[in-house]
Amino acid sequence: MAVDTTINAPTERAQSGRFEMPTTIDELRRSGIGDSPLPAIDVNDLKVYYDSEAGIVKAVDSVSFTLQQGERLALVGESGCGKTTLGMALMKLTKPPGYIDGGEILLDGRDLVPLNDEEMRLARLAEIALVTQSAMNALNPVMRIEDQIFDGLIDHGIRDTKENLRNHVYDLLRRVGLRENVGRMYPHELSGGMKQRVAIATGTSMNPKVIVADEPTSALDVVVQRQVMMTLSRVQRDTGAAVILIGHDMGLVAQFADRIGVMYAGKLVDIGTVQQIIEEPKHPYTKLLINSVPDLEEKRERLTGIPGIPPPLVDLPPGCVFAPRCPSVEDVCNELEPRDIDIGDSRHVMCHLFDEDVNMAGRGVG
């Protein structure tokens, strides 16, 4: 089988348009992020649906966003808003009864959606890597840390001496602030923060262009959370990978990200730079979300929550998904679905208030 691959590899690559793969550690190190003019990831009209007895659940509905090379985007929203589903779909790890119903995921110009299982397998880790929500259990309990990192490298065609492989793993561990001897340890010998660092080291072991970090700090205490976020930040700068950070802690993600995308009921309703989102939130939902974050400098009597609950995703209201809870709701909101409006400065809002073609009395309030 080994012989087969070597003979067929170049032609196969040319034919199927697979991603170029390094075959040694040395090649891998030099492979880094080139200066591609294309966006690191360009998601267009992505739909992830689930079949259920009650009907089709539109967990991610027509989401589009673009992430430049080395950019850091945070996706925030309430539980069940579809942010994790979106993250999994970007890795094409959507499990039945879920499926990608349509759309494009252009990774450095190449669409991941039509890739077959084997092509996608090779793209994972090498091109787009996942740092999971619960890194506490993300490690195989019966394997040494270094072996678990080797596995990913070897299955992506890296053939090199044990020494080179090991040195690479040591570099990865040092980069996330761990000692080399962690490589020889088993997962149960590590603390939660250490495991999360190992997850980051594993995720970056092949210099991917995009890292999807799904709530990488949710199981950790606040002090360790901050350390892990700083580690992720440093690794991101070192590798130049674009990061999609999925989280619900506005304060934590705001420190890390360049841009914030706000999701509500499977839709990306607002996206802009951290400053834009926090200082001048546009979408009524974003405003309410920002108001629900405690502010240390400003004295506020009470924190404002958002009344109501998100709508069931099976049976979405005909107009705007946020209309039932929206303070600026008008008649048109219950009838017409809002479009994705580009309001300049690469800022997008999905709300009639910003749509020139829709007549809204409340315009000017926002």
Partner: protein, 326 residues
């Protein structure tokens, strides 16, 4: 620990047969009488006394117990009552290779086939369809006692189809000669049916256990992570899913194997197989204290030893278990 387990179990082994209130010598003489050996009444009494003295059964129970303990340590259980003057050790030694050969092979075979089959059945990406057809009948067979299965097999393959011998370890007309290839083939032929009944009946047991473990394992985060790492299916199957799911299976295997020593009593009985199970069966029906003690003692030792082995090798299988830091 090891010594304590062996001591307690060995003591039970001494007292239990004696609580039945049966007199082994009387039973023996009744058997002889049934065979037509008649004795006069006064001779009968003298005979029992002589025999009891001969086997030490007339002495106080405590004394017998101490003798028994010392004999256990020396692995010498004296002579068999029913098969006098054959020594107990000799009986066991003759039967042991038959039992171990038959049962170790069939148990390991069933374990390997069942465990792998169960693993594939639970694996979402595997060649499921084939296994979905093949394995469920084994789940059904797992519910059928193996001795019943043995009877059906004898009827089908030996009695009706006449493909395989009805029973025994080898044909009664041949002389045992372990260097003769023809004899070895005959032994193999005779072991096929009992082995088949054990394998068929236990594959389902291993497969079911493995299948449910695998389903649990596939929900683990490290399986998702293995997929996100872009691992090949073969690697995530063997090194991530099976590697973890097989741990409880190994414990079950280690606890099953020692029973090999006792032989599957019923299987050996049905197939007339000359193993330890048959020796034990005959000893129990004849109230042959010394043979029962000898066989059970060996079983106790084997189980205790197996537990010791699990304790020693388990840290190698599962790094989370270690004695140095615990």
């Amino acid at each position: 620990m090891f010594v304590a387990v062996v001591f307690v179990a060995t003591s039970f082994n001494f007292f239990l047969p004696r609580f039945t209130g049966q007199d082994p010598i009387a039973t023996r003489l009744e058997l002889l009488a049934a065979e037509g050996v008649t004795t006069r009444a006064e001779d009968y009494k003298a005979l029992i006394e002589t025999y009891n003295a001969k086997f030490g059964l007339d002495r106080p129970l405590v004394f017998q117990y101490l003798t028994y303990l010392s004999s256990a340590v020396r692995f010498d259980f004296g002579a068999s009552i029913t098969k006098y003057p054959t020594r107990v050790g000799e009986l066991i030694n003759q039967a042991m290779p038959w039992s171990i050969g038959l049962l170790v092979t069939s148990t390991l075979l069933a374990f390997v086939v069942g465990t792998l089959g169960g693993a594939v059945l639970a694996w979402q990406h595997g060649p499921k369809a084939a296994f979905e057809l093949i394995l469920p009948p084994f789940f059904l067979l797992a519910a059928v006692p193996y001795y019943l299965l043995g009877l059906i097999l004898i009827w089908l393959l030996a009695f009706q189809a006449k493909l395989l011998p009805l029973g025994g370890g080898y044909a009664p007309t041949t002389l045992p000669d372990w260097s003769d290839f023809g004899f070895l083939f005959e032994v193999f032929k005779h072991s096929l049916l009992p082995a088949l009944s054990i394998v068929l009946a236990s594959i389902g047991f291993w497969a079911l256990g493995m299948r449910s473990m695998m389903i649990t394992m596939q929900g683990e985060d490290y399986m998702l992570q293995a997929e996100a790492k872009g691992l090949t299916k073969t690697r995530s199957f063997f090194r991530y899913a099976v590697r973890n799911a097989v741990l409880p299976q190994t414990t079950a295997l280690a606890l099953t194997l020692p029973h090999v020593v006792s032989g599957a009593i019923l299987v050996e009985r049905i197939f007339g197989y000359p193993g330890v199970g048959r020796v034990l069966y005959e000893a129990i029906t004849g109230f042959d204290y010394f043979v029962i003690q000898g066989v059970v003692y060996i079983i106790v030792l084997a189980i205790a030893f197996a537990m010791l082995v699990i304790d020693v090798i388990y840290p190698l299988l599962d790094p989370r278990i270690s004695y140095s830091s615990a």
